[in-house]
C-alpha cells in the first residue's frame, strides 16, 4: 500500500532541524514554562480556598521567609537528603552486585534474574505501596510473622523504622535500572581485557575493583543519574505506604509540597517550595553532568 502526499523534499542534514520543533514546544510548555510559573506563584499567596482563591496578592519573599523557619520544611529537606543518599547507594550496590554475579561464568539463571528484576519497577507505585504494606504491617505482616518464628520478635516497621521501610521498597524498585545499565556497561568491556588480567594472575576481587569499575564508570554515573531522577520522583510509593510517615519522618520534599499544595490548598507557598526543589535538583543535575563530562 502506498500513500503519497506530494510535498517538497528535503535532503538529509539540511533543515531536519525542524523535526525538533514539536518536542521543543512540548518541552517548553510543560516543563520550562511551569518552572517559571512556579517561581512567580512563589511570590504570591495564592491558594485554592479562602479569600485568596479568587484574588491573590503578591507578597514578595514572604513565602521564602516562612519556609526557612518552617520546621516541617527543614525536616523534609533532611529526610529527602537522607532518603536519596541511602536510596541510590542501596540501588547501586544491589544492582552492581547482581550485574556481576549474573555474568560469572557457569552461573545459570541470567535470563530469569534479568526478567524478574524489572518486575518491581514495572509495578505502579501506588500498588507497590499497598502490597508492601501487607509485608510490613505490624501484627499481621508476614515479615513480622517470619521474624517471630525465627525468634526475633515483631517490629512495627512503619512506626519504628519508617525510613528503612521505604528504603527497602525503593531499592527493590530502583535496582532494576542499575542492574541493566551496569550490565550493559559490563558487556561492553572487551573480552581480551579479562584474558590479559587472568594472565597477570589477578584475583577476582582485584579484577572488580581495579579493572571493571574504572571501565564502567560511565555506566555507573548514568545509572546514578537515572536513579536520582527516579528517587526524587518516588512520590506515589511513599504516599501510599506512609504518607509522610509517623509525624513526618518520611515526609520527603515531594510529599511535603503535595501536602502544602493539595491538602492545605496553599498553592502559593507550594510554588515557592517548588522553586527551592528546582534549585536543588538543578544542582544535582549539574553535578552529574560535570562528572559525566569529565569521564569523556
Amino acid at each position: 500500500m502506498k500513500f503519497y502526499f506530494i510535498g517538497r523534499l528535503f535532503i538529509m542534514n539540511k533543515k531536519t532541524i525542524y523535526f525538533l520543533i514539536p518536542s521543543l514546544v512540548l518541552l517548553i510548555i510543560f516543563i520550562i514554562f511551569p518552572l517559571f510559573w512556579s517561581v512567580i506563584i512563589g511570590f504570591t499567596n495564592q491558594s485554592l480556598r479562602g479569600e485568596t482563591a479568587r484574588h491573590f496578592q503578591f507578597i514578595g519573599i514572604g513565602n521564602y521567609l516562612r519556609m526557612f523557619k518552617d520546621s516541617g520544611f527543614i525536616n523534609s529537606v533532611k529526610v529527602s537528603l537522607l532518603f536519596i543518599f541511602f536510596a541510590i547507594t542501596g540501588q547501586l550496590i544491589i544492582g552492581l552486585l547482581f550485574a556481576n554475579l549474573v555474568r560469572i561464568k557457569g552461573i545459570k539463571g541470567k535470563k530469569f534474574i534479568s526478567s524478574i528484576f524489572l518486575i518491581p519497577w514495572i509495578t505502579p507505585g501506588l500498588a507497590a505501596a499497598f502490597m508492601w504494606k501487607s509485608v510490613f504491617i505490624w501484627q499481621y505482616g508476614w515479615l513480622n510473622t517470619l521474624l517471630s518464628i525465627v525468634g526475633i520478635g515483631k517490629v512495627n516497621w512503619l512506626f519504628s523504622y519508617p525510613l528503612f521501610s521505604i528504603l527497602l521498597v525503593n531499592w527493590s524498585r530502583g535496582m532494576a535500572l542499575t542492574f541493566l545499565l551496569i550490565g550493559t556497561g559490563l558487556e561492553a568491556i572487551p573480552f581480551h581485557i579479562y584474558e590479559a588480567a587472568k594472565l597477570d594472575g589477578v584475583s577476582p576481587f582485584q579484577m572488580l575493583t581495579y579493572i571493571k569499575l574504572p571501565l564502567i564508570k560511565y555506566s555507573i554515573l548514568v545509572a546514578l543519574l537515572v536513579n536520582t531522577f527516579g528517587t526524587l520522583s518516588a512520590f506515589e510509593m511513599i504516599f501510599g505506604l506512609t504518607n509522610g510517615g509517623p509525624l513526618g519522618k518520611t515526609e520527603v520534599f515531594a510529599i511535603f509540597i503535595y501536602n502544602k499544595a493539595f491538602r492545605d490548598l496553599s498553592t502559593g507557598y507550594a510554588g515557592a517550595l517548588s522553586f527551592v526543589l528546582l534549585l536543588i535538583s538543578l544542582c544535582i543535575g549539574i553535578f552529574y553532568i560535570r562528572s559525566i563530562k569529565v569521564e569523556n
Binding site: 554475579l101 518486575i119 509495578t123 541493566l180 560511565y218 510554588g271
Partner: protein, 271 residues
C-alpha cells in the same frame, strides 16, 4: 573453592527472588478470598467473586481509560521524540549543547515540582478534565528522557547508512521511517516501555487534572476506592491491584528483549 562460590551466588539469587516477590504473595492470597484482611495467609474460601465484582463497578471503565491514555501518550511521545532525536543527532546548530544541557537537567525534575503550575496552565488552556490535556501533559513530561534515549539510539546508527540510502534516491522522510526507525527498534521500545509505565502509574496528574469519575484512569480509581469510614475492602484492594498491574507487565514481557537492548544503547554510547 569454586563450589563454595557457586552456592553463595545461588543463595543470593534465592534471596533476591524472595525480596522481589515478597509483596506479591499477599495480593494473590487476598484477592481470591472474600474475607481476607492484611494478613498473609492461605484463604479458606477460594472465590473469584472479587474479580466479578470489580468489573461490575467502574473498574473496567477506568482500565480502558488508562489503556487509552497510556497508549496514546506512548504513540505521541514516540513519534515526537523519534524525529526530535533524529534532529538532535544529525544536526549541529548553535543552540545544540544548550538544548542538550537543558534536556539532561529536565530529566531530574520531580513531578510535584511541576504539578501546581501545570494545573494552572491546563486550567487556562481550558483543557481541564479532558483526555487531551492529560495526554499532552504526560507526553510533555516524558520528553527529556525519551529524547535522550532516542538521540543516543540514533547516534549509534552510522551516518554511512543514510548516505547510502540517499544515493539510492531516498528522501528525508523515507530515510527516517524506513531505515532509521527499524534500526533503532530497541531504543523505540525502551522509550515506549518507560513512557507507558510512567503514564500508567502516574497518580498525581490525573488526580489533579481530571474530575469526572468516568474519565478517571485506574491509578486514581484505585485510590478513591477506599472506603471512607474504614471499610477498606482488602480483598477488593488486592483484586484491584492485580488488575492494575497486569497491563504494564504484559507490555513489558512482550517487549522485553528489545527493551534490554534499548537500555544498552544508552549506557554504552557516550552522551
Amino acid at each position: 573453592m569454586k563450589i563454595n562460590y557457586k552456592i553463595i551466588v545461588y543463595f543470593l539469587f534465592v534471596l533476591i527472588t524472595i525480596y522481589i516477590f515478597a509483596p506479591y504473595i499477599w495480593l494473590f492470597t487476598a484477592a481470591f478470598s472474600e474475607t481476607a484482611s492484611f494478613v498473609t495467609e492461605i484463604p479458606d474460601d477460594f472465590t473469584l467473586k472479587n474479580f466479578v465484582e470489580a468489573f461490575q463497578g467502574n473498574t473496567l471503565r477506568w482500565m480502558m481509560n488508562s489503556i487509552f491514555i497510556a497508549l496514546v501518550s506512548v504513540f505521541l511521545g514516540v513519534s515526537v521524540t523519534s524525529i526530535g532525536g533524529y534532529a538532535l543527532s544529525r544536526n549541529s546548530f548553535r543552540g545544540k549543547s544548550t538544548i542538550l544541557y537543558v534536556i539532561i537537567l529536565a530529566k531530574v525534575l520531580p513531578l510535584t515540582l511541576l504539578a501546581v503550575p501545570i494545573f494552572g496552565i491546563i486550567l487556562i488552556a481550558n483543557l481541564m478534565d479532558t483526555y487531551t490535556g492529560l495526554i499532552l501533559v504526560l507526553v510533555g513530561l516524558q520528553i527529556p528522557m525519551s529524547l535522550w534515549i532516542m538521540k543516543g539510539a540514533i547516534d549509534s546508527v552510522p551516518i554511512e547508512v543514510e548516505e547510502a540510502a540517499q544515493i539510492d534516491g531516498a528522501t528525508g522522510w523515507t530515510i527516517l521511517i524506513q531505515i532509521i526507525l527499524p534500526l533503532i527498534k530497541p531504543g523505540l521500545t525502551a522509550v515506549g516501555v518507560i513512557s507507558f509505565v510512567n503514564a500508567w502509574s502516574n497518580f498525581l496528574l490525573p488526580f489533579i487534572l481530571m474530575s469526572s469519575e468516568l474519565k478517571m484512569p485506574i491509578s486514581v480509581g484505585i485510590y478513591s476506592s477506599f472506603g471512607m469510614w474504614g471499610d477498606i475492602d482488602y480483598p477488593m484492594l488486592a483484586t484491584l491491584c492485580i488488575i492494575y498491574m497486569v497491563p504494564p507487565i504484559i507490555f513489558y514481557l512482550g517487549l522485553r528483549t528489545y527493551f534490554f537492548q534499548g537500555l544498552g544503547s544508552i549506557s554504552s554510547t557516550k552522551g
